[in-house]
Amino acid sequence: MSYAIDATFETAIIFVSLFSIIYTAGVVWRVEKKLDISYKFFLIAIITFTLSEIANLVRREALPWAGEAALILKLLFALFFLKGVLTMRRMVRIMDGEINPEKE
């Protein structure tokens, strides 16, 4: 049985995630248009990740659906993160002149 190492990492993950939520929300408030949309996806992804980490701490005996909820939230995290990355990629490609949004 390890005493503090696992607890430290679990607590650190949740706290770092909370800080990420705060600063991502800050970016959403500052920027506009496509960058704003991509950061909104990142924000949702981070929120779902934090919730999945919290759900992972909950014991199956107390809430039998906590494990499944954690998995679903993790999947949502991956999906929203991917969507955020794709939105930002498209924005960069438009900036590079690779895509012309008016033509599409």
């Binding site: 049985m1 390890s2 005493y3 503090a4 190492i5 696992d6 607890a7 430290t8 679990e10 607590t11 650190a12 706290f15 909370l18 800080f19 705060i22 600063y23 929300a25 800050g26 408030w29 500052r30 701490l57 909950v58 014991r59 005996e61 107390a62």
Partner: protein, 483 residues
């Protein structure tokens, strides 16, 4: 030109230095925060957390010694074989010393391989027949070959038939009756019957006959001890008490003890006990369910119309506080006509075996004379204390009282785990003020930082707007107006 190049180089060097400094300070701050969390979490969980973690996770290096040796043929193992019992099953335990230049061990039994690739220096052979001779050879395997031990022979024990089953009634109504024959006089109409058996967790069947016909099925504990208190006053007639202990694994191992007892005299204490008993019945919140047959209506005929048996279906016989207790009740009709309807009363008793903590009533319709199983689910009260409890089912059929008992373990419901610590409701409730304070503090810090970030964003927007206005000359115009 030369000066400009030097200045550019200096600038980029300065920028690189600054970004390096930023990265180092960020990493340092992160490590300091991580260390802080580790110290706080460790001190909260266990004051000796650092030593425990160092021993169990990191490992303690006391000294480093480098030595070089040429690998040779593996050493010859010296083995011992000991015959023993694992419950009622025979086994052979093999032990040998660690040998040099050995990577693994193989074991041969009677010339055939039994197990290979062992890295430990002991092995338990449980697939053996009782009362049989076996010969074992340990073979050490190394990079430069194999070496076999001298054969060790052993004869296995017969663990089942060596120990005949025993069962004895030790006390009836607080009176030691071990070794007594004839009719034993007892001074209480509410006797507690206790006894022992040499079968761990034996199925105990208590049968009272001649008067007040009653059958109780319960389970002895791992030491073979059992105890049962009559839930209703017995009549003053002579009773026959027969207790049968059955092995839960080998059902042919059965032992029986029989005693006769009769009420002798009612003392003042008995009267007091009766009054207290009535008082307890009144104060329990479940008095609406008539579980105890009224005095005076004691059964008159011998013979039981049916038998009950009770089994806890939860894994390991353990249930969580506030969780469900899954039971299996078997109703086995014995005499025809069987009652068409039964009211089964389930009770959970406290650790003392007397106080009723929970009661549930269930009506059952018996369709025919075949054995019938029902699977009730009891919702355990949240205030149930963790520990070993008794659940009983009882009914009255054709003026006979029939009951069965089973043990179950109540565990605290863990809400969530931090590291290796399970946080339970009890832990939270015991330090509820700290829990609320910590939660509020975290929420406050989170909301505070969020608000700070929002303020910074709004301020940035204000500055951008101001800069734009300055760029387009609105401020200049204003200045002009003032001019």
């Amino acid at each position: 030109m030369q000066i400009n190049q030097n200045a550019g180089r200096n600038n980029s060097r300065l920028r690189r230095k600054k970004s390096f400094q930023k990265a180092v300070s960020f990493l340092g701050a992160f490590l300091i925060i991580l260390g802080g969390i580790y110290l706080v979490a460790g001190l909260m969980l266990n004051p000796r957390f650092f030593i425990a973690d160092a021993k169990e996770k990191i490992g303690v290096v006391k000294g480093v010694m480098v030595s070089v040796r040429v690998v040779g043929v593996p050493g010859q193992p010296t083995a011992t074989a000991t015959a023993g019992c694992d419950g009622l099953s025979s086994k052979v335990t093999l032990d040998w010393e660690e040998t040099i230049d050995t990577t693994s061990y193989d074991i041969e039994r009677d010339g055939s391989p039994l197990v290979t690739g062992l890295t430990e220096t002991s092995y338990e052979d449980t697939v053996v027949d009782a009362g049989t001779n076996y010969s074992y050879v340990i073979i050490s395997q190394g990079p430069r070959g194999t070496t076999a031990s001298n054969p060790v022979a052993v004869e296995t024990l017969d663990c089942t038939t060596n120990v005949p089953a025993t069962c004895s009634i030790v006390t009836i109504g607080g009176k030691n009756v071990a070794g007594e024959d004839g009719t034993i006089a007892i001074a209480t109409l509410l006797p507690t019957i206790t006894g022992t058996t040499n079968i761990p967790n034996a199925q105990i069947r208590i049968e009272i006959s001649l008067a007040d016909p009653t059958i109780i099925n319960l389970t002895a504990n791992e030491n073979g001890y059992w105890s049962w208190t009559t839930p209703f006053s017995l009549s003053k007639e002579r009773h026959q008490l027969t207790v049968t202990a059955t092995d839960p694994v080998l059902n042919w191992r059965v032992a029986t003890d029989t005693k006769y007892f009769q009420f002798a005299a009612v003392s003042q204490n008995e009267d007091n006990n009766k009054k207290e008993n009535k008082k307890t019945e009144k104060t329990t919140p479940f008095t609406s369910v008539p579980s105890v047959p009224p005095e005076g209506s004691a059964p008159k005929e011998s013979g039981q119309p049916l038998e009950l048996s009770l089994e806890v279906l939860n894994p390991g016989g353990a249930a969580y506080v506030g969780g469900d207790l899954d039971l299996k009740t078997s109703i086995i009709p014995k005499e025809i006509p069987i009652p068409s309807e039964l009211t089964l009363i389930y009770r959970i008793y406290a650790e003392n075996g007397k106080d009723i903590l929970f009661q549930q009533k269930e009506d059952v319709v018996l369709k025919n004379s075949d054995p019938q199983n029902i699977f009730p689910v009891l919702k355990l009260p949240v205030l149930l204390r963790p520990g070993r409890h008794i659940v009983s089912v009882q009914t009255t059929a054709q003026e006979s009282f029939i009951s069965a008992q089973a043990f179950f373990e109540v565990k605290e419901m863990p809400l969530f785990s931090i590291g290796s610590t399970n946080v339970t409701w009890r832990m939270i409730m015991e330090s509820v003020s700290w829990a609320i304070l910590s939660l509020l503090l975290i929420i406050l810090i989170f909301l505070g930082l969020l608000e700070l970030e929002h303020h910074r964003a709004a301020r940035a927007l204000f500055q951008i707007t101001e800069n734009l206005l300055v760029k387009r000359g609105y401020f200049t115009r204003r200045k002009g107006v003032s001019r």
